[in-house]
């Protein structure tokens, strides 16, 4: 039995599919599903309400101020760009380099990438002080701004990945007679053409995914005024982070869908993906080491920000990022008996995702908390308050409003993913 053949193939009463295509169990018990969707809709409503409140009162309702002027929203933006790029890089590289074993999870990875990039784009909106002016970006496009190129690649990539999902699903949709197939047939000749189209798509999607996250890195890495960010290692490090978090999420979602009988694959694949994740973690750790060593070795003022990361309130965050976020999952994945057990791979993936999130949190927090010209009394924080409105440094803590908006957007993503899994077949079958 090949790795891609479903090991679980129970009877599927009422399924309209042609028997030649084995499909996993697709019945869903209604109760939990309805409750889940109702919960997501409720969270989305809370998010929309919080966003409305923020729109009416201004960004003063967030924890951001003049010193740390980017916070939770940008953090989630780049985290989700990473999740998206990482998922698609793994999926399309697997196809390009003919890694047959990846096949069962390719569709899932492409879908994950699509949903994640939609979320990333959504996270831009609440971060703007004037979201209603967002169309000024195409209208007054400034070609020297990394941000407009990032928004451009996010839009292009969103189209690409959505097309990619559809390309993967349309043969099955055609077999089911769905209008979503847009006239694709099910003949062998059409199927062969489909395979060629998927390969061609992989050629476009892989560089697009790499570009997507590199440009996001350059939003930060090209700013000479921010010593902690101004480094050529930013783009490679963002790609490494993307691979760790993106693959981690694909593993978690794959195991979840297997549990829900939407997808089937063998444990071998989990062990293999776990090994790959371990490798990505090593690359990430190596780049972090190279970055910190270069910053700290000369003992010069340029290394101040990196040195700060190793002291004070930042040290626990840094230790969490490196020791727990990267070290623990690496150890789990390096131990062969553990790697062969999906539950441990899932644990390692979850910790690695949190680790990458912490890495990005540290990047934003430490990159911004201390101004370059650090003489007293510091910067005006931007709101009137009792006592001094100046501060020499700022410790950013997101407010409840920010959490509500973020939760709402996350719920939107979960809803998109749930609906997609309900309507699009996730199981990739063997090539003819």
């Amino acid at each position: 039995m090949s790795a891609a053949t479903p090991s679980v193939n129970p009877t599927t009463p009422g399924s309209p599919t042609v028997p030649a295509v084995p499909r996993p169990e697709t019945r869903t018990r209604r109760g939990p599903l309805v409750a889940w969707i109702a919960l997501l809709l409720a969270l989305m409503a809370v998010g929309v309400g919080a966003f409305g409140y923020q729109f009416a009162n201004g960004l003063v309702v967030t924890g951001m101020r003049n010193i740390v002027m980017w916070g939770q929203y940008i953090l989630f933006f780049m985290f989700f760009v990473g999740l998206s790029a990482g998922g698609l890089i793994v999926a399309s590289a697997g196809r390009l380099f003919g890694v047959k074993a990846f096949k069962p999870i390719t569709r899932l990875a492409v879908l994950e990438a699509t949903v994640a990039v939609i979320l990333a784009a959504t996270f831009i909106l609440p971060d703007l002080g004037r979201p209603e002016r967002v169309l000024n970006i195409p209208l007054y496009f400034n070609p020297s701004s990394p941000m407009v190129w990032d928004i451009t690649i996010v839009m292009v990539y969103m189209g690409l990945s959505a097309t990619y999902v559809w390309l993967y699903a349309r043969a099955d949709l055609a077999r089911r007679g769905s209008w979503l197939a847009f006239g694709t047939g099910t003949s062998n000749r059409t199927m062969a053409r489909e395979e060629r189209a998927k390969s061609a798509m992989a050629w476009v999607a892989l560089p697009a995914a790499i570009l997507l996250h590199s440009i996001t890195a350059w939003i930060f890495g090209l700013q000479i005024g921010r010593g902690f960010w101004y480094s050529s290692i930013m783009a490679p490090m963002f790609i490494a982070s993307a691979l760790v978090s993106g693959l981690g999420l694909v593993i978690l979602l794959a195991l979840l869908l297997r549990r829900l009988r939407r997808l089937s694959f063998r444990d071998d694949l989990v062990a293999m993906l776990g090994g790959l994740l371990g490798t990505f973690i090593v690359v990430e750790a190596f780049l972090i080491l190279a970055e910190y060593l270069t910053a700290l070795y000369p003992g010069a003022p340029e290394g101040r920000a990196a040195a700060r990361m190793l002291s004070g309130p930042y040290l626990p965050l840094f230790l969490f990022e490196v020791v727990i976020g990267l070290g623990v999952p690496f150890l789990i994945l390096a131990i062969r008996p553990l790697r062969r057990r999906p539950v441990w791979v899932a644990v390692a993936s979850a910790i690695a995702i949190v680790g990458i999130f912490t890495h990005r949190l540290n990047l934003v927090l430490n990159g911004l908390s201390f101004p370059n010209v650090d003489l007293p009394p510091g910067l005006p924080i931007g709101v009137a308050q009792t006592g001094s409105s100046f501060a020499e440094s700022y410790w950013y803590v997101p407010t409840a409003i920010e959490w509500m908006v973020v939760t709402g957007i996350l719920a939107f993503g979960a809803l998109l993913f749930t609906v997609a899994v309900l309507y699009l077949p996730m199981q990739e079958h063997e090539a003819h």
Partner: protein
């Protein structure tokens, strides 16, 4: 380059000559300012008048006075053992190579023909990328509804809307009326001199040349139009 004659700055009146610099102006003025750290007494007059001239709400400052010491009111001990205190008045540096102008996604931050970095608050989308880009931390965001000590708006310019970025404009509204910026004429110590960088014989350019006027964070390559004259009574910073 745009026609310099189209610039609202045509000539400075005799009244403003009393506050500094005029002399023969160049054909292509590039306005700038020099701050004499030896003369500055850290009184914050320029910071306060800036707020009233430009209607800067509470909690926001376009211009502020940093103290070169351990704290706002603690002098440093000099090499000779005595105590000393110097100030660094800090506002927009009006960089020739401005990181904010490069970064702004919608060209809401731009250079005027005379080198002044301006902010278009009707176009700004409030992404705050210019604040990320600025090495000097002189940009302010309108986080919430503007609050003022009185119910009235003050100053000679329109208030900026919620959710946009604002900063020093070198008092363009005053330049248009042949007046030097408010911080310049209000300085009781005469520590600020306004002038044209393209006028080699002006008082500002002469001071910069003779007293080795420096750029703040010169290593960032921003080429500010605002220069600082280091205090002579002590070893340089």
């Amino acid at each position: 380059m745009a026609d310099p004659k189209a610039s609202p700055v045509e000539a400075l009146s005799p009244a403003s000559r009393a506050w500094g610099e005029i002399g023969p102006r160049s054909d292509y003025p590039r306005w700038g300012m020099v701050v004499d750290q030896e003369r500055c007494i850290g009184c914050w007059s320029c910071a306060v008048i800036c707020k009233s001239e430009n209607d800067v709400p509470l909690g926001l400052w376009w211009n502020r006075i940093l103290t070169d010491g351990a704290a706002l009111d603690q002098p440093v001990v000099s090499e000779s053992g005595g105590m000393e205190m110097h100030w660094l008045p800090l506002a927009c540096q009006h960089c020739e190579n401005a990181p904010c102008v490069r970064a702004c996604p919608v060209q809401a931050t731009y250079h005027r023909a005379d080198g002044i970095v301006m902010q278009d608050n009707d176009r700004c989308i409030g992404c705050r990328y210019c604040m990320i880009a600025c090495p000097y931390g002189v940009r302010n965001f309108n986080w919430g509804a503007a609050s003022r000590p009185t119910p009235y708006e003050t100053g000679m310019v329109e208030a900026r809307p919620l959710g946009t970025v604002e900063k020093c404009t070198m008092c363009v509204q005053r330049l248009a009326e042949d007046q030097v910026p408010s911080c310049v004429w209000s300085c009781p110590a005469g520590a600020r001199v306004f002038g044209d960088h393209n006028d080699p014989d002006g008082r500002m350019t002469t001071l910069i040349r003779e007293r080795e006027g420096s750029m703040l964070l010169e290593e960032a390559g921003t080429r500010p139009a605002v220069r600082y004259l280091p205090p002579r009574r002590r070893s340089p910073l």
